[in-house]
Symmetry: C2
Subunit: 413 residues, 2 copies
């Protein structure tokens, strides 16, 4: 079954790669319209998933992610249209050079080929992942969470039908509807058919894929983002940024989870910080020195430094030097996003140089690490690994470069 | 032991990343001089490896690769100096943009961090791999073949000593001198310490690393390169290029292994081809239609289409159409390098569009797929996968991009 999907993917790979931008946009808009037209059917399928999930005692937060509504389907359709509006990354040639022997060598941006995506019970990811893969000229094979199987099957059927109606290859979107865990394991070893695997979801899911896949994986990861308040920081700016980075949206990976404050300013800054965070009921977990200044806060344990709370909790560490701050952050962060608040030119430069993260900020909220905020229009995830793509991954990150070489009879001497 | 190496690598990672170009070049040149000065000691160590290898009945081709000489050590030193001469890729910022909210967002080229390299009994790779990793600001942990252990230990000791003498971090070059196979397996799972793993060597070694590593791998691969002689090809050019691509150097991955010829020109072209290749004693293995024109050639089996011969052998397939040629090549090639010989504009464009390989050529020899020929100065290997790097990998491909963001108090609304 799985191999058959792989063969079908390979059979349309070249056709999908060669679609022009107009054709791809037509497919996306037609799929968007079809999702709206058949919203009732999607809701019915979703209802079956929801009932089963409730029977199985699914937690409310997960139930919420699984639940579709007319509004959410409208959001899905809107998402497809937005991707249609984005610039097509395919075909651009960079760095074309004329070599001394007359060869012209350039790098042309082309689709990756077949992208596998493994995700959990969030049916909106189905339309979203398809849109980004399709616009970048890739075939996608989706493996969604078993709890969303009916919703996903319906969404996939509607999109495929829309593609067919437009005389576009419907196999550009393939779906594994076998929910057996063994199938997922086999999927992760289909190197002959799948060029890259992107897991989207919990840390546990991502860890499993990284460990078991023999296909190259792009790791989209958890965020333990830090903000360092340096000696020369503008306190008002620091408070604004910390408040925003911690509380503007609590459950996402670019939220600030840990604060590092210079000992020189701690006496003055910490009371202001507490006052500000108290207004949002943020629990501060501090080290011993922080607790000397703020006796009422919780004591941080060793474990706290590595935590991605995704909650109204913030860890707080006092440091004696810039070096200590960098060491602490590079040790405990997840290489996602970190910020310094400073008015000192040299500290700003050093922080940008020395912090090893996908996004390093001076005087701004970590919440900006996001495809839309970075100007990509949409994103498939935020990569915390270093190969291929780092940070928010838009359409461009779903492509690769191949060398094209124009000769007129050159041979190697 | 292995974990200790990982900890040492991490301890100097930032220091190595922040070395400026001058410091790195000083280290490389000093290491080059030290290798020359202590050539006798390297040769002595190599002698021990060679004697053991002969006792173990190593094949002559492998023995040759293991053997060092004064000349080869000179070559190693020269290689280090050449890398010193290359432009430093670190620090370049691309695409700095001013966002509507005033944030300046750019991508800065930075080292990958810690690079693991697993290779076979070729001691020259030791110096070579170190040079490329060091110049690109990376720490490397090398795991060489056990047959070259004494040679490698000596080379590593000399380079480390040279770094130390220059007051540069000697742990920029780390070496696993435990030749136990289990150690290699553990090494491939050291995700907390190693950012990327590059296997260099036989198809078997690469396959093992791809299957077992949980660290991201860059696959440097085998080459089953094709040349397609299209209807409008200039025969003289085709013969020159085929001769060059097949015979200029026989044992390398960018050598042509398979020929695809349009049926329309086969009657006329094949006798010329045979005459030319006979001069170099190249055995042609043809399909049935080729054998009707050239009755004396060997019959190709199904297996031949997928073969990387690395020998004076060439498979030959006759096709009825452009489409058939593309299908055949995309099915059997290793996505390394393929060429078309044509005078037809449309065929040239279609070939560049439709062949899915790291390097696609019009009217030139596949032998050009090489870091030096592409103008990179040196290469660590040729990637046949699509993530991160495709084709020859130079210094640039040993780096990643991190987002640097300059703000003045921006928060997300």
């Amino acid at each position: 079954m799985l191999q058959e999907l792989g063969i079908r993917a390979k059979a349309v790979e070249l056709q999908v790669a060669l679609l022009n931008c107009e054709e791809k946009n037509r497919g996306l808009c037609s799929a968007a319209a079809a999702l709206l037209e058949q919203a009732e059917e999607i809701l019915k399928a979703n209802q079956i998933d929801l009932e089963k999930a409730k029977e199985n005692g699914m937690r409310p937060a997960l139930l919420d992610r699984l639940t579709l509504s007319k509004e959410r389907i409208k959001g899905m359709a809107e998402g497809l249209r937005q991707v249609a509006d984005l610039e097509d990354p395919i075909g651009e040639v960079t760095g074309m050079k004329l070599r001394p022997n007359g060869l012209r060598i350039g790098q042309r941006r082309v689709p990756l080929g077949v992208i596998g995506i493994i995700y959990e019970a969030r049916p909106n990811v189905t339309a979203d992942a398809f849109a980004l893969c399709f616009k970048s000229g890739n075939v996608c094979i989706l493996k969604g969470g078993s709890d969303a199987i009916y919703s996903n099957q319906k969404i996939v059927a509607i999109i495929r039908e829309a593609l067919k109606k437009e005389q576009l290859p419907e196999d550009a979107l393939l779906f594994i509807d076998d929910t057996n865990r063994k199938t997922t394991q086999e999927f992760m070893k289909m190197n002959s058919y799948v060029d890259v695997l992107i897991p989207r979801g919990s840390a546990g899911l991502i860890q499993t894929v990284v460990e078991q896949s023999t296909i190259p994986v792009i790791e989209t990861g958890t965020g333990n983002c830090h903000i360092f308040v340096e000696d020369s920081a503008d306190f008002e700016m620091a408070l604004e940024i910390i408040d925003n980075a911690k509380t503007q949206r609590i459950g996402v990976c670019n939220t600030c989870e840990s604060l590092v404050v210079s000992a020189k300013i701690a006496d003055e800054f910490l009371p202001l910080l507490k006052e500000r965070l108290d207004q949002k009921q943020v629990e501060i977990r501090g080290d011993e020195r922080a607790r000397k200044i703020l006796p009422s806060i919780t004591a941080a344990t060793q474990e706290d430094w590595g935590m991605e709370y995704l909650d109204y909790i913030l860890s707080l560490k006092i440091v004696d030097s810039f070096e200590e701050a960098v060491l602490h952050i590079n040790r405990y962060h997840t290489k996602h996003s970190d910020a310094i608040i400073t008015q000192d030119y040299r500290c700003a430069e050093r922080f940008l140089n020395e912090i090893d993260a996908a996004a390093v900020y001076v005087n701004a909220s970590t919440r900006f690490t996001d495809g839309v905020e970075f100007g990509f229009g949409a994103e498939i995830g935020i990569s915390t690994q270093k190969l291929h793509a780092r940070g928010p991954m838009g359409l461009r990150e779903l492509t690769t470069l191949k060398y094209v070489i124009y000769g007129n009879g050159q041979i190697r001497k």
